[in-house]
Assembly symmetry: C2
Homo-oligomer: 372 residues x 2
């Protein structure tokens, strides 16, 4: 393999594939990037079997392709070296069967290569009928839901985000069983119904790469994997086996009480009140509704207490008290970009539902905390 | 104590005093800030005995002083609360003898106070004859030297920066015994000779506060402490007892070889070469001089090797090889803001001296590493 390429162009692509290289992977070959130079251009590939990322630099964007070939080299070192090289042309050449020379006028790095035959064989063949979504919109859906997934590995299915397509609606759902985040959007598709669970750690890597917001991302869904394609980039993620909980049954349709409040006012009040909560106590704060005013209360006995008033914008005659995690409530409120939010309740032990009063496509559910 | 004050004004001052509040201090009173409200204004004070910071807000910058008094309250909570309050007027009132109420229209925090009598009594009386230095210049001196101090507590004097005034010259020196950073400047003073060692952790806190660069900072030096005064702020630091090493004897006056190189070219070459070094091996790199060219070499046997060429700008006929820590060399080079630097040598086991060829007031010394 021998080629000359702009430092900037190579770095731009390494920036993507480096995300598929785990820094803690104990199997050396999985810390590597595979280079494949053909007449069409240069393919870069990384994988740890759970995730794979492949980019393509067409020959028109390569200074010169002097000798086709393939090789496998440490991803982390390759990335850091190219990142620190000055802008301009870089020479890449396999000088013996297991050494890659990376050079410019004054610099020469010689990196030991791994065996190409040891690199995992990943099938990245695309399907004929992908689902198309605008990158900006897909990114938004994930950002509004993925945070609610569980970080605990003991119920693997809860560490994923559930994507469901049914009757022209895409529903994205994540839950750690104490909260639910769910977003629905209409999509234009003629695919069969779909119901998959994608690991949140993988989808978060994808989200960081979706920077061509007006362009589409293609979803190619298979039995045990999903392949995303956007621009010249392909990302494969494994799927999580298991039945995702049917959260629809947890989300009530009727409420005994709903309050409409200013999003920023509520967020800031909870943010301040959370100063006097402790993680050991699940960051619990209390909301009291009385005389059409909301009062948020919390305290750490040794330190002090806080009382925040928030304006309730609709007419409410009930008196009501409920307690919940201030952290969960802030995470939920942050996903709305509206001026107002509605908090809906049935009782102090039933879920709180947060929505934008003008758009019910996004639902945030929080399980309250019992206080005695 | 009762007053009304702009949130912004109070926060600006808390931003300073919070630096005197240790977050890991196990003695609760040392996590506190003392408020003292007089007819002249509001004094804020924090201390952990090793450091003390006091600011003053004159009455003209306070909305209203309704009742003089003093109190002591948790510094971290006070700071976070004021930081999160909306801009506008804050009411501060001691409502009972041990509770401070911090309130705005919709918010009320009640914080438990500590006993004023438990707060350490710190003498912050100034001297009559301070040394005056321009803040920008003092900051520069510290930034060029303090990094070379030791992080190891086993020789306390090396964890400090040595300030010496003799015959109108201020000399700042730091060393961890493997490297020395020394800066000399002429100053206008009629004080006696001075020779003190200030803990680097304290001086680094000071440096972050010196933002009024054209103004002066006053140094009031006492037997066992130094007080810095700038604007409305006073900072006290303890001094380190012990004899600071006489580094002058380590810095040679004559060299058998000196090379002049471009600062950026040298820095970038070492930065890249350091990718193939390991901390366990003290980040060792090798510099070979031959045929008027410098070659930087390093390697990690399992990964690969690197060779960087640098241009030597003066005529050098010698052949020479030396090895040193790439990290130490980069730390040293970074302190110069010149286009060129000179590296001077006597032998491969004697110190390397780095200077700006046009200005000898800053000296960086690095002890080489023996390689076999």
């Amino acid at each position: 393999m021998k080629l000359r390429i702009e430092q900037k162009k190579l770095l731009e692509n390494l920036n993507y594939v480096i995300r598929g290289v785990s820094s803690k992977n104990l199997i050396p070959i999985l810390n590597c990037i595979k280079f494949e130079l053909t007449n069409e251009g240069l393919y870069l590939l990384s994988t740890d079997n759970d995730i794979a990322i492949k980019t393509f630099i067409p020959s028109t964007e390569i200074e010169s392709i002097d000798e086709k070939g393939e090789l496998v080299v440490s991803g982390r070192y390759m990335y850091e070296i190219v990142r620190k090289l000055p802008s301009g042309i870089i020479n890449l050449e396999e000088i013996t069967s297991d050494v890659l020379d990376i050079s410019t006028d004054n610099t020469s790095f010689k990196l030991n290569c791994n065996l190409v035959s040891d690199f995992p064989d990943i099938d990245l063949t695309l399907s004929d009928n992908p689902i198309l979504l605008e990158q900006k919109s897909f990114k938004n859906i994930i950002n509004q839901t993925a945070f609610a997934a569980s970080l605990q590995e003991n119920r693997p299915v809860l560490t994923g985000i559930n994507l469901k397509i049914e009757d022209g609606t895409l529903t994205a759902t994540a839950t750690d069983s104490y909260r639910v985040a769910q977003k629905k959007i209409k999509i234009d598709t003629n695919t069969d119904n779909i119901n998959i669970v994608i690991p949140v750690r993988n989808i978060n890597e994808l989200i960081k790469m979706l920077n061509f917001e007006e362009d589409n991302v293609e979803l190619h869904i298979f039995e045990n994997k999903v392949i995303f394609k956007f621009n010249n980039i392909i990302m494969m993620s494994s799927l999580i086996n298991g039945v995702f909980p049917n959260v629809a049954q947890w989300i009530p349709n009727d409420f005994s009480l709903s309050i409409k409040v200013s999003l920023n006012e509520l967020y800031d009040a909870i943010d301040r009140a959370s100063l006097l909560t402790s993680e050991a106590e699940k960051n619990t704060i209390k909301l009291e509704i009385k005389d059409n005013i909301g009062v948020i209360l919390s305290n750490i006995p040794e330190i002090g207490n806080v009382k925040e008033q928030i304006h309730i914008l609709n007419e409410v005659n009930d008196e009501f008290v409920i307690a919940f995690s201030s952290k969960y409530m802030m995470d939920a409120i942050r996903t709305f970009n509206s001026e107002f939010v509605t908090l809906s309740f049935n009782s102090e032990v039933q879920p709180i539902i947060i929505r934008n009063p003008e758009d019910e496509n996004l639902t945030q559910l929080i399980v309250p905390i019992k206080i005695y």
